[in-house]
Symmetry: C2
Subunit: 199 residues, 2 copies
């Protein structure tokens, strides 16, 4: 493993052990088995390690979503569903999430939400365009529809910014399904997985 | 004027003179003509003054929007248009905006966006419900539709989070108009003011 990746993996372990808050650069170096000087070659502070870890985690989610969108042999609705389920499970399983939602990390949190939106929108739009070609979707603005839906997921449904009851979340997802159905021009029921698989 | 309001007005003047960044608690007290000790009775730091000023500014915008929604003698579409134009002009004319978008203020910025969304959504929903009663709108989820639209304004269209060209903004507004038309159940053209009056 590259030394840089080793440092990031170590930081991730510390986070999952709930020691992310209290650990120092020395602690990370010690656990990783790297000299403190060698550590400073890559990262000047714990915050830089954390930033790089967030960047890498989100980049992996985005790369996986791009693979789903570009895969051969699946139709657009199957891909949308696959991407949605993958995205949701990646976001909530992340040990980073707890730390991203702490007040002192609000800057990196907002930056990462913006990155998710700008990176994921063209990927979702690519699937919508495939659906247009398959004559299943009839969507005039694939990119802007993706951005609108992702704004709801990245902002309104972010558990670090708002706190909603399960019933409130269900109502928000119901209108998203309705918006998607009419903007994609599909019959009722086609996009129900948005509501049925949310967790 | 109450001493507390005097301090906030003074902070606002310093912001409009572009001295907000460099000023100290002493500078604010001096300009307001208040003893430094008297100042500390209300605010412990410059950040607290700034937070209170943001809170007050956004509360004024929200109160004005509530008055528009509750006014007698106007139909729902007129009220939506009036509220939209008022909201947009209040947000962009604010001297606070420049400071809210600085990296060190990202926490208070995100908090204020969340406040706008949670406070304004029920107000917009009230207008939609009036439209339902007038049989002009046919909207099943007034609150959730308002939240979805406001998520786009508060997150995707926030100039501190994203940078878009005028053409990109126009496309985003076009799909918002389309979403509103179909979710409100109104004929094409009814909600065009969203696009025509944006600035």
């Amino acid at each position: 493993m590259e030394k840089k990746d080793l440092i990031l993996e170590t930081m991730l372990e510390l986070l999952s052990e709930k020691k992310g808050e209290s650990c120092s650069v020395s602690d990370i170096a010690k656990k990783a088995g790297i000299a403190k000087g060698g550590m400073y070659y890559y990262f000047k502070s714990k915050e830089e390690v954390f930033d790089a870890l967030v960047e890498r985690t989100y980049q992996t989610i985005i790369d996986d979503c791009q693979k789903i969108a570009s895969a051969a042999g699946k139709n657009a609705i199957e891909k949308l569903k696959h991407l949605y389920i993958h995205y949701r499970s990646s976001i909530i399983s992340s040990d980073l999430d707890v730390y991203l939602h702490k007040p002192q990390n609000v800057g990196i949190h907002q930056k990462s939400l913006a990155k998710i939106l700008t990176s994921l929108s063209p990927i979702v739009a690519q699937i919508i365009e495939q659906g247009n070609e398959e004559k299943v979707f009839h969507c005039t603005y694939p990119l802007e529809l993706s951005e609108t839906i992702l704004s709801v997921f990245c902002f309104l449904l972010d558990s670090g910014i708002f706190t909603w009851t399960p019933e409130q979340i269900e109502r928000k997802l119901t209108i998203l399904v309705s918006i998607l159905e009419s903007e994609l021009g599909v019959p009722k029921g086609c996009i129900d997985f948005l509501n049925n698989t949310y967790r």
